[in-house]
């Protein structure tokens, strides 16, 4: 347990982890306050990408601790909202976070934000545990994440994600709540069709980007 990380000594270790992926980190600088909280300016999509990359490349525990600190409470809250009780949610959340470590090398930053990737892992685990079946997933693409993603693609995708998140936050509250309820599993698919008004406008350019990427990669 000697290498166990405490939350208040991340700064140097993460800076060191960042050294392995300088392109992703770019000019952004890590600043950790004395109590270990990550300041809001650091919580950008590219920051989380750098953390996952550091786990994949260097098994970097400091980066994992940062991801954990940010996402674990949200994953747990998501599971509780989805119907898990406190202890099941804690158990399932730990499992999800451990999966992030194990699958870090499969994460492709040109295809999804880290939050989305974690959401899909949490959703699948939730179905495993609450509905008791292994959720069928689409097969992988013929090219794997082993192929280093193009940095321009990564930037474009992650920026698009930030735009999408901003657009969702600007939706009328009623519609936003319905979207949340849909993702907590409170709506059936016909209720989704009838009630959320399918927020297609917000994801339109995200979809276009994904299509371009797929077509580009096939050529």
């Amino acid at each position: 347990m000697s290498n166990m990380l405490m939350f208040n000594d991340h700064a140097e270790q993460v800076a060191a982890a960042g050294g392995s992926c300088p392109i992703l980190l770019g000019p952004r600088r890590y600043r950790a306050a004395h109590d270990g909280t990550v300041t809001p300016t650091e919580k950008t999509e590219l920051h989380w990408v750098a953390c996952v990359t550091a786990i994949a490349k260097d098994e970097d525990k400091a980066s994992f601790a940062l991801l954990f600190r940010h996402f674990a409470p949200r994953v747990k809250a998501f599971l509780i909202k989805s119907g898990a009780d406190e202890s099941l949610a804690e158990e399932c959340m730990q499992d999800v976070m451990a999966t992030i470590w194990q699958k870090a090398h499969l994460y492709d930053a040109s295809r999804a934000s880290v939050a989305t990737w974690i959401f899909t892992i949490a959703r699948n685990r939730k179905i495993d545990l609450l509905r008791r079946y292994a959720r069928p997933e689409p097969e992988g693409l013929p090219w794997g994440p082993e192929r280093e993603p193009d940095q321009a693609d990564v930037m474009a995708l992650q920026q698009e994600t930030e735009r999408l998140a901003a657009a969702i936050r600007q939706l009328p509250e009623k519609q936003r709540i319905l979207i949340e309820r849909a993702y907590f599993g409170e709506l059936t698919h016909s209720e989704i069709a009838a009630e959320t008004g399918l927020p297609l406008g917000t994801i339109k350019s995200r979809i276009r980007l994904a299509l371009e990427r797929l077509r580009h990669a096939m050529n």
Partner: protein, 214 residues
């Protein structure tokens, strides 16, 4: 891939992204997404919505030693998960996984007219099955009590609405009666998810219905 003309609807994709579909429909959607760039891109959009929902969650309290426990889990499982290679047969990976192989691994049951089926899973009146229709033959005519989602895996069929080839999906509900006929030249294999048992109109199939479970 290219050539898909009949795409899956946004409500089914969002339902799949949200984890709100019955198991049998999850299987058909995952299989379709494996074959369609369009569906894959749209699914990515709907999953991104889930990412935003997750990001905007209020934080729950964690167990005191939550991170340590998680690190202990990681230490206990050092093996990294391998990527699943795409399937080279006619069944995409999610279907292949359930069947235990490709077309030749299916345990077909005859429907009496040359057509065959294999029920893959059933839960609460929602089921997924593979259907095999010999070239030129019709599926027994049926109406729908609930919703039905069909994905063509091999060959093609036509019904009153259009032609459906590999990768195409067709969604039908109570209001629709259709008679799919496999195109001449190649036998047709589809995967079909139904949310209630279909009712057949022909005499023979009606007698057979209780036994074959359609």
């Amino acid at each position: 891939m290219n050539g898909i003309k009949h795409h899956i609807s946004d409500d089914l994709l969002m339902g799949y992204a949200a984890g709100a579909l019955p198991q049998a429909f999850d299987l058909v959607v995952a299989t379709h997404v494996s074959l369609s760039d369009d569906a894959r891109a749209r699914l990515a959009g709907f999953e991104e919505l889930g990412g935003v929902v997750l990001s905007d969650m209020e934080e729950a309290d964690l167990a005191e030693d939550s991170l340590e426990q998680t690190l202990a889990r990681i230490a206990g499982t050092p093996v990294r998960e391998k990527r699943v290679e795409p399937s080279r047969g006619i069944f995409p990976e999610p279907l292949r996984k359930i069947v235990g192989g490709d077309e030749d691994a299916v345990k077909w049951r005859s429907l009496g007219t040359g057509a065959k089926q294999c029920v893959l899973q059933t839960e609460d009146g929602v089921s997924a099955r593979l259907l095999y229709i010999p070239a030129g033959q019709a599926m027994p005519e049926h109406g729908h009590r609930g919703m039905e989602l069909t994905l063509v895996l091999k060959g093609a069929y036509r019904d009153e609405t259009d032609r459906f080839g590999r990768g195409d999906v067709e969604f039908a509900d109570e209001d629709m009666d259709h008679t799919p006929i496999a195109e001449a030249g190649e036998d047709c294999i589809c995967i079909v998810a139904t949310d209630q048992r279909l009712r057949f109109k022909g005499l023979l199939p009606r007698i057979a219905q209780p036994f074959i479970g359609i």
